[in-house]
Each structure stands twice: as structure tokens, then as C-alpha cells.
Assembly symmetry: C2
Homo-oligomer: 196 residues x 2
Amino acid sequence: MNPEEDMSDHPTKGNIKFVTSNEHKFLELQEIFRNSGINLEWIRRKYEEIQGEGTEEISLDSARKITHEINGRFFLEDTGLYIDALNGFPGPYSSYVAGTIGNTGILKLIQGLDRSCRFLTVITYFDGHEFFQFDGMLRGSISKEIRGKGGFGYDPIFIPDGQSITLAEMDIETKSSISHRSLAAQRFISHLMGSR
Amino acid sequence: MNPEEDMSDHPTKGNIKFVTSNEHKFLELQEIFRNSGINLEWIRRKYEEIQGEGTEEISLDSARKITHEINGRFFLEDTGLYIDALNGFPGPYSSYVAGTIGNTGILKLIQGLDRSCRFLTVITYFDGHEFFQFDGMLRGSISKEIRGKGGFGYDPIFIPDGQSITLAEMDIETKSSISHRSLAAQRFISHLMGSR
């Protein structure tokens, strides 16, 4: 099947482009989509993001700006960690914060504070005509120390509610059965199935 | 004199518009410019900023996007605190970080680390034809505790090199004689004088 063919009558068949510079994200979502018979194509590139408080708005703005640069249907994914006692920090700047103060910095900041937090993933999909957004949330708490070798980013300090281990201590199947990213992806996949 | 008149032959006369939503910044720069006989007009509004590591690039991008919305010559000002031991954090996200974890958060993060840091101000000026940028840097260290009532933002935790008090403990004249913002402004004013 020619992946450049118009897929509008076959929404779950053929390639969907995932635009991200983050290999971890691509591998995680590739696995989830493969189970639904959808092949992801990795467009490995960065894109412009505006500063702002709303992940949905930031992601939609980014997607709009690259529609003319990507041939065919594509999506973006943005995930943030929001810590209640820190007014939502690091939120939309989770990637920058991970690369500067990192998990060690988050553990220092949370000392003596309530450790409640949530992960929020927003997927913005452009089907060639319209934009759609899907989100997934996972509530949890910041661990006392860095634990586990799996996952990436803040996974080693995030304990999902109802669990006793961090996301980085779980095998990938367990993580994917509960994660924010997986939940957003499942909503996206349901949309693709429903629009068949 | 009509402030809407073409000022290209009188670069230090008439109004220059300062686009900022931050009243503290306007008042500080208004004072500095007044001493040079230049009247600042406050355009109180927010503007879009992209995410990125380079303050110059972010500021120039913002200025380009609003040239068609501002009548006449204008400038933007962006200031960041860069902490060496935290890989430059909070850097371009200084405003967001101040509004979430604040000075208390910075003091927690710096515990046990080298406290060296710098303030960097970038001014981007559009004269109606071209863009110009002027910067000002102030090196210092993060104080052990929050001290002083003056200034704003990170001033109460910033001790300039060679000083024993924070920027927030100084009177405004002393602060303006050494500050990053003042230095960038002086370079800007010299440019205006030189282009007369």
C-alpha cells in the first residue's frame, strides 16, 4: 500500500507521522499503536513552541505552524509534570527543567511539601483537514528518592496513585496499561477507529 | 512636538514605546531614560515568546511579530537569572519560575551547590526600519536567605559581586548604577545618542 495515498477512507491503515525529536516517546507510542495495527512513521525533528501555561494551546499553535511542512496526516505529543504544591511547576517547561535541575532538583524542591502531582499528555492530530486533541492524565506523588531504570524523564520519581513503585521500576507493559501517554494514545486510536 | 512625527533626525527626542506588561520594569527604565532626556511611553501588553535557550533569539522573534501592531519605534526588554550550578536554570523561563517555585524554591535548589549566577538583560529595539539589540550582565551569587524589600523578582536573593547586600536591599539609585538592566539601557541610550 502506498503510504502517500489518501487515507481518509482507511483511517487506521497506512502510516501516521509522529513528529518528535524524542526517541523514547516514539518507541513508547510505536508499541501502543502497533497493537492496534497502526504503523507510526517517525519524523525526527524539533518544532517551535510558544511560551504559555496551556499545553493544549501551545501544542495546537505548534501543529498549525508546521502543517505546510509535513506531507500527510501527523501528530505531536506534549507531556508535562504538574506538581500541586509548586503551583503546577514544571508544567509546560518540563523538558527544559529536566535538562537543567533534573530529578535531583525536583526532590530538593518538594522537601517538606505535599508531594501530589500529575502527568498530563496532550496529543494534537492533524488529519490533513482538521485538528483534533486527545489528553491523558495520571495522578501520583513524587517519590522520596530516584528509583528505577526504565522509562525516561520524570518516571524515576513518579509513583502513580495506588502503586508503590515508580514508573521507571515498572516493565513497559505495566507502564503502558496505566500511563497518561498511553491513555491519550488510546483516545486517539478510538477516534481513528470511530471515524472509519 | 508631535510624538507621531518621524523622529529619525532626532533619535533622543520624542517618545520611545516600551512594550511590557511589567510595571516594575517600566518604572525602572523610565527613570534611567528620563535622566538622558528621553521620554518612554508605556505600551502595557503581553506578547508571544517562543520557547528556546537564547534570550536574544526569543526577544528578536517576539519583536518581529509585533512590528505591524505597534505604531512607531519601540523596544522589548527580557531579563533572565542564570545559575551556573543549575545549568543556567531558570534562564529564559525566569518569569514562569518566579511565579511558581519563587525565591524560596531557588534557595532550596541551591543548597549545597556553588551559588554563582548572573543576571542578563537583552533589549531589542525596532527603529521603524531595523532591529538592534543591547545587553547588560551582572555577575553575583545567590544569598543564603531572602533579604530586602526593594526591586522585584529575584532581587531579594541576588548579591552582586563585590557587594554584601542584595539588589533588593539597595536604594534604586545604587541598583541602577550597577544593574544589568541599567547597563543594557545605557548601551541603548549611547546608540540613540550616536545615531543623532
